[in-house]
Symmetry: C2
Subunit: 193 residues, 2 copies
Amino acid sequence: MSRSATRKRIEEKADALFYEAGFEATSFADIAGAVGISRGNFYHHFKSKDDILDAVIDRRLAATQTLLESWETDAAPKDRIRSFIRILITNRTKIMAFGCPVGTLTTELAKLDHIAESRAAEIFGLFRDWLADQFSALGHKDDADALALHVLARSQGIAVMVSALKDEAFLRAEVSALEAWLDRLPVQTSTKD
Amino acid sequence: MSRSATRKRIEEKADALFYEAGFEATSFADIAGAVGISRGNFYHHFKSKDDILDAVIDRRLAATQTLLESWETDAAPKDRIRSFIRILITNRTKIMAFGCPVGTLTTELAKLDHIAESRAAEIFGLFRDWLADQFSALGHKDDADALALHVLARSQGIAVMVSALKDEAFLRAEVSALEAWLDRLPVQTSTKD
DNA sequence: TCAAGATTAGGACGAGCGTCCTAATCTGTC
DNA sequence: GACAGATTAGGACGCTCGTCCTAATCTTGA
């Protein structure tokens, strides 16, 4: 198999395992077993475990970019923000089992005092900036960033609690509450210009 | 040193290390080094690593009970809930570095598929029930539990985001927003009886 | 004082970890 | 068809893990 194809398959499986079992708890043997290659073959593609983590974070950054761009088709900013909130519903099964992939990875890397922590947190940065753009478009130029962080925090809180409670009704109730908050948010048309 | 005193010291250090480095990443050698005893001596006090985890969870359950009881001195239910919210301010340094001890432990144990996950989640249960009692006292009998979970989720979200952002200003802003939400919550005096 | 039990230190154990090396196999080019 | 380089499998490495064992030391009560 070609170098790039194998690399990609390793990244896919590593991504899933880091999410479902955690970075520390996932061994080379686990990834190799999932991919179906030998342990030794690994170092032809990645020179260390941290190297795989970097690739996984790159992957997630790219996937996030693609996701955000796909929502640009929603004309109204509020609908775009709603698309973000709705991830919780779309991915509810995985979130109930393993939490949010972004939040849980940054949390784990923070405890491990891992150099890649800040890069993992950049995924939050993408969501943050994109959400802030939407709130700006709603006329909330001054507090766009604060509103973006508020939505992120609310979403993270729901993810943490639903993975602890394993309660889908709670998830749906809190998502509805967050959407209601968004609906109540006044749309300010620019007074100047 | 007496058996109980050494046990207690082990529990204290294990508790701190599980919080700051994670359960999986903390080894017996780490705990032994922190306590100042030999590795081998461990098994006179705890028969396995899971056994220490159980003791740490017991410790946290008891500490949570004590904390909740200490807030019973606040006469008004809203002040009691405010005491809960203010943990985020009080423990801000540790939360910024390591997240919430309850949320991060349950998240890690969920990924590890560890038997103790449900016991760790019981700590959330204590906060949940206590908060629900306070909302009931405010006259929100029907949605007391939902309101309790809402406050828990908001707090968890703040903890996750602040540990990713390392931004105390964000923490304070979100705590203020949550307190403002609490202030706006109508106090309903019972209509029957 | 001395026996009995509690507590301790230190190391052995098998297994698994991340890493690295070597040799075999595959793939594509002249 | 043969050679060169890419790709692979498999195992060795040094280390650390959780666990367990044994022997030494301390504490306590008769």
